[in-house]
C-alpha cells in the first residue's frame, strides 16, 4: 500500500500543476486541471487510506475524481437513459458525481497503485470520451455498469 506522502510525491513529479489542498497522514486532496480533447477541466481528487472506523467512505476505497468546472452537463434525453456516462451518481448534485474510471470488481486499481500513473490519465481518458459524448450523443470509451455496491457511498 502506498503512503500518502508517496502519492503526493508522485503527483508532484508527474502532474506538477495539481496542488495539494489538504494533506494528513491518511488523506490528501488535490486540485488541478486536465484537458480532455479541447478545453481544460478543473478537477478535485480526494483519496484516503482505508481505516477501520470509516470502511465505507468511498474516497478510502479508491481515489475520487470530481469535475468542478466547467460543470458536467447532464442530458436526460440520451438513448441509454443515463444523464451522465460512467459516474457514481451523486444524489445531491449530479454534476459533482465522482467519475467511474475503472472496474473495482476486476481490481483494476489497488492501494499499491500510484494515482499519478493511473487515476489521473484515466480521468483524462474519461474527459476525452465525455467531450465526444456531449458532441455526438454516444459514449465511445466502452466500459460497463456494475452492481450498486458503491452507489450509496458517493456522498460520503
Amino acid at each position: 500500500m502506498k503512503k500518502i506522502v508517496e502519492q503526493i510525491r508522485a503527483m508532484r513529479l508527474r502532474w506538477p500543476g495539481f496542488e495539494v489542498a489538504e494533506e494528513t497522514a491518511d488523506k490528501a486532496i488535490w486540485f488541478g486541471s486536465l484537458v480532455g480533447i479541447e478545453r481544460p477541466y478543473r478537477l478535485m481528487i480526494e483519496y484516503g487510506l482505508p481505516i477501520a472506523s470509516s470502511p465505507n467512505e468511498l474516497f478510502r476505497i479508491f481515489p475520487l475524481v470530481r469535475v468542478l468546472s466547467p460543470r458536467l452537463v447532464p442530458r436526460f434525453n440520451v438513448a441509454d437513459g443515463a444523464p451522465l456516462p460512467h459516474v457514481y451518481f451523486d444524489e445531491y448534485d449530479i454534476t459533482l458525481s465522482p467519475l467511474c474510471l475503472f472496474d473495482p470488481e476486476a481490481s483494476e486499481w489497488l492501494h499499491s497503485d500510484l494515482i499519478a500513473l493511473t487515476t489521473i490519465p484515466w480521468a483524462a481518458d474519461w474527459l476525452a470520451c465525455y467531450e465526444g459524448w456531449l458532441a455526438s450523443g454516444r459514449w465511445h470509451g466502452g466500459g460497463r455498469h456494475g452492481r450498486a455496491k458503491f452507489s450509496e457511498g458517493a456522498n460520503s
Partner: protein, 165 residues
Amino acid sequence: MDIGAVTIEEQLRFKWLTGRFSWVGACHRCLPPFDERDGIQIDVRNPECDDDCFTDRWPENRGAQRMYIDDLKLLRGQLAALMSDELMLDEKRDLLVAMFGEGPAQSAIDDYAAMIGRAVQSGQRTVTSTGKVVPIGGVAAPLITSSASAQARGHTFYGTRWKPR
C-alpha cells in the same frame, strides 16, 4: 493569415477534424490579407491545383467584392475558433454545422469522437502533460510522443446505473 501562434498539435488536430473539408485547411493556410484589396482583382488559387481558381466568379463589381471579403473574414474567424482551445467539442460541432450543415458536420464529429473512444478503449493513446488524450498511430503521434507523458495502463470505465426519482 498568421497562424504562427498555433501549435503543431493544434494544427494537426484541426487538420484531422477538417479532413472531411480539406479545401478549408488549404484556404486557411493561403488566405491573403484582404483588407486593403478593394478595387483590385482578387485571384485566389487552390494551392493543391493551380488551375482551380476559387475566385473565378468573384468579384463582379466592388459591391460583390466587399461581400466576398466579408465572407472571407467570417470564414477566417470561424476557422480561428475551430483551432482554438476556447470551445468544447460540442461547441465546435455547432460551429461546423453553421459552416457546412448538419449532416457533414455531425458526421465528422461522430467519426472524431469514435476515433478518440477507440484509442482510449484499446490503450492506443498517450496522455500529454496537460492531460490531452492523443491517439497513437494517428497523424499526430510521431510529433506528440516526444513531449508526451508515459502511457497509462488499460482500464474499464465503470459506473452505477441511473435510477430516476
